[in-house]
Amino acid sequence: MLSTGHDDVISSLPDAVLCHILSFLETKEVVATSVLSKRWTRLWDSVPLLNFFAELSDREAYFRFNEFVYSVLLAHKTSIKRCTFDILYDNYHLAHLGFPNVIKWINAVVQCGVERLYIYIESYDNIFKLPISILSCKTLVVLDISTLTAKGFSSVRLPSLKILRLNETNFLNVQDLVLLLAGCPILEELLALHLEFDSDDSLTYQELESLSLNKLRIANLAGTICHFPLKALHNVELLDIEINKVYRSFDDISTFHNLTNLRLYSNNCNMNLLVKVLKHCPNLQNVELKQGSAIGMVEDVMENWVDPTFVPQCLSLQLKTCIMRHFLGQESEIQFTRYILKNARVLQTMKIHCGEDLEIEKELSLCPRASSTCELIIIQ
């Protein structure tokens, strides 16, 4: 009895509620509901969220998918709030056929005032080139792209963009990356993982100084080895970055006043440089140091530790946790660890991840600690 009552009620739900349920489905399924009844043929194209997933390995699948995406985009009545293209072209030929269509689709979606755009196009031999129409999309709030090339653009205007996620994206040079970022004045979150550059021209002083991302709170540049303008990141609260040969002196960067959590990937690193970094982060509470870059290379640590003559403010007042990964047990690393333990007054945890055969526990547990509540944890 009760269930029939509910059937009547559920079918009398307004279109908006039914569309809401549909918005959690993949577009493929949403379109399938068009076959439920005549009423439902009118519902599916009002769902403002579109997502297209496909792994295309044969021509039939390729053609059907193409037809499908075109029909959805053409039928779409409302503006598209969110759109995902997650497509794998299993062979060169299909990718070659397919890419021009993807460009048309992206352009169409951009014209519909899309706010959140996710583009993951994979193909074994080809790399998809980002349509530059995206770079002047006034409505875009989130842009998330993976395994693409971003080249051939000269102006970027993304006035609404708050979140930019670039994964394995290929640029001509760092200047282009800076140009892209300069066009995102209200950016709050930046992920720039494993970026690649055709040439490693360094930035001019002018270029280093000019970029400013005042609203940026989160920046993760793991795996991206380049001469990145650190000054632009001066307001961030969370930062993941590769410290490498480029940041040798660290003298001319500004202070990171809001930085509370820092993760550094350092390859062939000068441990004194790490102390200098801490000096620029007066409010740092949590730091993680990973030997070897995020790409996975590990080189030996430089052996030239000199006891610093200063104590960074964060050590005296703020630093609560310090984590060291891929600890090699070399002399300057031990000296660095000793220095931190000796000076970090409010440190609660010092955690060291190292190889099984390393015998540092005894030596380190005997180091004087400035913080009486500091716990030393060694994980092998």
């Binding site: 739900l13 349920i21 918005s23 959690f24 068009s34």
Partner: protein, 160 residues
Amino acid sequence: MAQEASSSTSSKTISLKTGDGEIFEIEASAAKQMKTVQRLIDDLGDDITIPLHNVFSKELPKIIEYYKKDITGEITKDFEAEFVKDLNDDEVKVLFLAANYLDANKLFEFLSQNIADRLESKSVEYVRKYFGVENDFTPEEESKLREERAWSFRGIKEDE
């Protein structure tokens, strides 16, 4: 006598009466999360037992359980998974309708996602039954649509 809202809302409980006559108590702060209930409180006062004609004693306790966790900030993915684990598709539907009626946004969103997940690769017939939809296509019209939308029907089970 009308009570001052500010001083006692934190510990105040509201009485709700279901369509089948049972009475349940919830914290006033939980009631706030259900806009329909809050509107009724605003109109009728918080001393009166609020009548909910379209919600029944089977589902209301579950809804109260959800919002009890919500006001203490304890809603996690694990809790939500556990919450729907033993419910069948029809029971979720009933909860969803209740959440819609009560204008309980958080629960509504969560259950929308859950229903979508459950329907994800079900057959067209199943979805029709679930939403109480009457098929007003002729067999020819339906098969034409299916052909046009061939990509959509890859991988979806069909009932016999």
